[in-house]
Symmetry: C2
């Protein structure tokens, strides 16, 4: 096997992904495990790390280990203080937190920013994915998910501003626990496309209702038989993603940015839905390489001079 220059881990709440990098940053092996920080009991992170990549380490004891994600949170292994905006690979590399009990093991800081009167904004893991996108400037990066993030990269390509939308969690909680869920069959998550586009158009309409109104309208349409039950979940998804785009557009304008051609980071059905949604605003998205997180780990390690 080629020489191992770095072992990288994207270690999140529910799962971890591990990467073994060759001398020039190529990924020479990869793994995924259901050992997110919430699934590591009693703080046994050293043992979990050993389970995940102990064999790699035995073969390449000289290779540093770099970790990003919730592993650096208060609920993780060692709390890695947040770096401030503007942040980039160099500033992150300069603020790594060493894991005391493991030689050459470091955690990438999350990034924090205070958005005017609003609450502090924080990310952990996304900053590494963004670094992994490579050089970009004056661009919007969107990371859809449970807590969807919009990040503005300034002229120097630094993460300058960002904000978070609870879109995915609101969708999930409303679908499971509100009266809307009672109208939806089974536990179907995959939204029917027709419902999605209808919800989207309603949310994006300039004279359309606000989010609290829209949520009720999903119920009314269901009761009146205007939407088949199997479209309600998609309709709800469209309403919420549409609302996110409306709120996000306002945030970007407030920051003096432009939506431009947003870069979507993520995978699966969500990317398809967000691509559709941005198209409704006349914006064509670019989709990130699914290994952005791995590329980011390499780029940060490279800035430390250890690889």
């Amino acid at each position: 096997m080629a020489e191992t220059a770095l072992i990288g881990l994207d270690w999140g709440t529910t799962s971890l992904r591990a990467f073994r990098f060759g001398r020039h940053g190529g990924i020479i092996a990869r793994r995924r495990a259901d050992r997110g920080i919430m699934k590591v009991e009693g703080g046994q992170f050293a043992a979990a790390l050993d389970d995940a990549i102990g064999d790699w380490r035995a073969e390449a004891p000289q290779a540093p280990i770099l970790m990003a994600g919730m592993i650096g949170s208060r609920q993780g292994w060692v709390e890695a203080p947040y770096a401030a905006c503007p942040a980039d690979a160099a500033s992150l590399a300069g603020a790594l937190t060493a894991v005391p009990s493991v030689a050459q093991a470091y955690i990438v800081p999350g990034v924090a920013w205070r958005n005017g009167i609003a609450a502090p904004e924080v990310m952990r893991g996304e900053e590494t994915q963004i670094v992994g996108l490579g050089p970009l400037s004056n661009r919007l990066v969107v990371l859809p998910g449970t807590h969807s993030k919009w990040v503005w990269l300034d002229a120097e390509g630094r993460m300058a501003r960002f904000t978070t939308f609870m879109t995915g969690e609101v969708f999930d909680v409303m679908r499971r626990h509100s009266i809307l869920g009672r109208l939806m069959p089974g536990s179907e998550i995959a939204p029917a496309a027709d419902g999605f586009e209808r919800g989207l158009d309603e949310a994006l309409s300039p004279d359309g209702p606000g989010t609290l109104q829209s949520l009720f309208s999903a119920r009314a349409r269901g009761l009146f038989g205007e939407l088949p039950a199997d479209q309600l979940s998609g309709y709800l998804s469209g309403l919420l993603i549409g609302a996110e785009l409306k709120e996000g557009r306002q945030a970007i304008a407030h920051w003096g940015g432009v939506m431009g051609a947003p870069i979507l980071v993520g995978g699966g059905a969500l990317v398809t839905l967000y691509t559709l949604a941005f198209a409704r605003l006349g914006l064509q998205v670019e989709t990130a390489d699914e290994d952005a997180g791995a590329h980011g780990l390499w780029a940060i390690a490279a800035k430390t001079g250890t690889v």
Copy 2:
């Protein structure tokens, strides 16, 4: 006991209230029972009615019975078709649905309106409370609750337009089932006033975040210790009621109405919170008589000429 001219029931989802009216519409007796339509098993509404007011009826067999609320819904006793906007006491009185099995028993229709491209809007029970407010014109009536309603009364005092916000249910579902709830102690519903005003100000700020952003900010403030845990519930409530006011203001403007001095219908803590919230917009509210629903039943019966 004075002559009984009418027996009225405000029969909702979780409870019912019954009123015995004298010849001039005065309430000569009243009762409340936990026999909302969801608690009447097997469609035994006739028996439930007998339990509730059988003795009144025995004493005053000539008095008609008028019911309003969810008793007229598809899940209720007899489905009472919706009346259209603009609606008032006369149009409601002209569209009563008779209960086939009970002599002289009628159900007030709900009201439906289609709000542009948005979903059909519906109410059941609120229309009767609004009629009970007495003569009003060019006024906004707000009925806070699980599904909060804003109703615009036109120059003739008719219910001309209305819309619904899922404020109360979103609050409840997010508090119980989202990551926000995990930061909140116990099952405390009564929001601490400080948190409420902070959430309200954030939501009402012209440059403030949108609703999906705000929901995340509640979590961030909790994590950063910027809000004591016992204020988070109030903060969430303030964010959502503030969002309702913002959305509602836009709806009113769209209808060509003015917020003016809104009339708040309801009772308890919610009225206090909404009063505070409207004050933030410089608007002083009027609070409705808590017997608005009873007055409405009388007013509708009076329009039929039977009382």
